[in-house]
């Protein structure tokens, strides 16, 4: 069973009297365990695609199945629950809560699915340890470097055992050396932990870490090919 399956997925924004087709009948299938990079210039629809896949936005047409479950018209709370259980987000700007320790940031998704405080703490510690942030549990985001912050964000994305990780320009705010470290982390997560990763980037070097590149232009998929290493 495919992890992601979109069937002529469309998103049309009305702009004045005309309308913009941000997604124009996109049909993509992603199998569990894949590492897919999504590329394209700005305005190509890649961000809209990610938002729809991440259940942050609703399509105006077409179908989307996640793990075989139809994510059709659903209310806010149902979408929130899917995000909580199935998807881990990693953003360009890290998006950690300020004035909140690394540990508590990683605990955040578990606050919303009924895991007890002790178990929450244990799992968050484990995730941080796995990402090499042992001893930094009490640090606040402003006490951590960019790379460390992004690793806290990745720990947060992993902690709910979500099958799908969506990374939106995760290296955009990082220097080259740190970017490579983060990408190697993703590769490792994909290869060793079997996490499915969808990565949006406009840098070919970064996309080269993935196993498959899908290119968007004007809301359509213009190419979809595996990466030869």
């Amino acid at each position: 069973m495919a992890l992601i399956e979109t069937d002529r997925l469309s998103k049309i924004y009305p702009v004045g009297e005309t309308s913009v087709r941000a997604l124009d009948e996109v049909s993509v299938t992603v199998q569990p365990g894949e590492f897919v990079a999504i590329m394209g210039p700005s305005g190509s629809g890649k961000s809209t695609f990610m938002n729809v896949i991440g259940c942050l936005d609703e399509p105006t047409g077409g179908g989307y199945r996640l793990e075989g479950v139809d994510i059709g018209r659903r209310d806010r709370d149902a979408l929130a629950e899917i995000r909580n259980r199935k998807i881990g987000f990693v953003f360009q700007g890290f998006n950690l809560l300020p004035r909140t320790s690394a540990l508590e940031n990683v605990e955040l998704p578990m606050l919303y699915n009924g895991i007890g405080p002790k178990e929450r703490r244990r799992q968050a510690r484990e995730a941080l340890k796995m990402l090499g942030l042992e001893g930094r549990e009490k640090h606040h985001p402003n006490q951590l470097s960019g790379g460390q912050q992004q690793r806290v964000a990745i720990a947060r994305a992993l902690v709910n055992q979500a099958p799908l990780i969506l990374a939106d320009e995760p290296t955009g705010n990082l220097d080259t050396k740190t970017s490579v470290e983060i990408m190697e982390l993703f590769v490792k997560l994909n290869r060793d932990a079997g996490r499915t990763i969808l990565l949006v980037t406009h840098e070919p070097d970064i996309a080269a870490f993935s196993g498959r590149i899908i290119r968007f232009l004007d809301g359509r998929v213009i190419s979809d090919e595996p990466v030869r290493h």
């Binding site: 709370d77 929130a80 629950e81 259980r85 998006n95 809560l97 004035r99 955040l108």
Partner: protein
């Protein structure tokens, strides 16, 4: 499922992050709650004082005054004509079924002397019924009797103030005092009552048999006439009945034809007092209402700051939504924040209000009453204010679009 303890911690942290702002917002509630408590305390203090004074006057009182006289076309006002007699008083006591007791009155002022002490005080001539009518109790000794009234014996009952001024700490019972140089035996001492509504010291008095007052102390041109009659009805419900019975009886006794006006007036004293009590109570409520306006203003302050807080934390809300916070997770976070502000403010306001009320009674001598109900009311009201004014910002936060919120700068 909503995680209350964690949500509560999040709210507390947000409040701590902006200590100054939280404090100032709370100040609005503190002042509001404090003002409500002080005003309620002052108001209920005043009305309790009035009820005590009413109780000290005696309950269910009706006062019968003689009519007015007319001289050369000038009407002289109530009590200027002597139309009430001891016989009237006795008849009322005997025949009006709604009447519990009757006290005919003949009073005046005189100098009283004991040994080398003297004191000017009010002398009240009355019957044995006076103690029951005015709800006096005897601290010591015995009351005078009908026999004392009939034979105009020279006995008296001393009020606490009069007794203290003549005897100090000595026992007045059985001693002889002089009223206008006439010797009287002190047969009883009255238990203290305190001030009347008009601020008079009710204990500064001497009670003697009415006949003695009329014949021996003050003298009278019209023997058998009384200044006024005080009547106690059997119960509050029988006041109107008693008034009607007295009016009918006295009209009959005074041989008034249906076309003639009453030559006496019957007044319900308790009603007058209760009107005073009620106006005090209304005043107290008015004060509390004005104070609660400031609580409302405090609530608007909370709403204002919560709206700012929601805007400032749009991105945080976006992050929480992205990782799975549902509508009520977000709402509760902000509602708890507003509630925490208002309830902490409420508690501090209660402490300050109670302290303020106590200070008022200690420093300014105002009587204040802090009831548990008023404290609970103020606390509950502050909670409601927090809930009410916190809901809209919380609702607004929960309706944000997660994508927009995430990219909010």
């Amino acid at each position: 499922m909503i995680n209350i303890p964690a949500t509560f911690r999040i709210s507390l942290r947000a409040l701590r992050a902006n200590k100054m702002r939280s404090g100032l917002t709370m100040l609005g509630i503190i002042i509001g709650v404090g003002a409500v408590i002080v005003m309620l305390a002052v108001g209920s203090g005043a009305s309790r004082r009035i009820s005590q004074q009413i109780a000290s006057m005696g309950s269910n009182l009706i006062i019968v005054m003689p009519g007015s006289s007319t001289a050369g076309g000038l009407r002289m006002g109530a009590g200027t004509q002597s139309t009430l007699t001891l016989g009237d008083a006795e008849a009322v006591a005997r025949e009006c079924t709604a009447v519990a007791d009757v006290a005919p009155m003949h009073n005046g002022a005189a100098q009283i002397v004991y040994g080398n002490q003297n004191w000017a005080t009010g002398i009240e001539g009355s019957g044995p019924g006076i103690l029951n009518v005015r709800d006096w109790t005897l601290a010591a000794g015995r009351p005078f009797t009908d026999q004392d009234v009939r034979s105009a014996t020279k006995v008296c009952l001393l009020g606490r103030t009069a007794a203290d001024n003549l005897f100090g700490s000595a026992d007045p019972l059985g001693q002889i005092i002089r009223i206008k140089k006439i010797p009287f035996v002190v047969i009883g001492v009255l238990a203290p009552k305190g001030q009347s509504m008009m601020g008079q010291d009710q204990d500064d008095t001497v009670i003697v048999p009415i006949t003695t007052a009329q014949r021996k102390i003050f003298g009278t041109r019209l023997p058998g006439m009384v200044r006024h009659i005080v009547v106690k009805a059997r119960s509050a419900d029988e006041m109107a009945e008693a008034e009607a019975q007295i009016t009918e009886l006295l009209r009959e006794r005074h041989r008034l034809t249906p076309r003639e006006e009453n030559d006496f007036t019957v007044r319900n004293l308790t009603q007058i007092m209760q009107a005073a009590e009620q106006s005090t109570r209304i005043m107290a409520l008015l004060l509390a209402a004005i104070a609660s306006v400031s609580l409302l203003v405090g609530g608007i302050g909370i709403m204002n700051i919560m709206l700012v807080s929601v805007t400032e934390r749009t991105r945080e809300i976006g992050i929480r939504m992205a990782v799975g916070a549902k509508t009520w997770d977000i709402r509760l976070q902000f509602i708890i924040e507003a509630l925490t502000l208002s309830l902490i403010g409420g508690v501090i306001g209660i402490v300050l209000g109670v302290t303020g009320a106590k200070l008022l009674s200690v420093l300014a001598g105002w009587s204040t009453v802090i009831s548990v109900l008023s404290v609970l009311l103020a606390f509950g009201f502050s909670g409601l204010v927090g809930l009410f004014f916190g809901f809209y910002p919380a609702y607004k936060a929960s309706q944000l679009n997660p994508i927009d919120a995430l990219h909010y700068e």
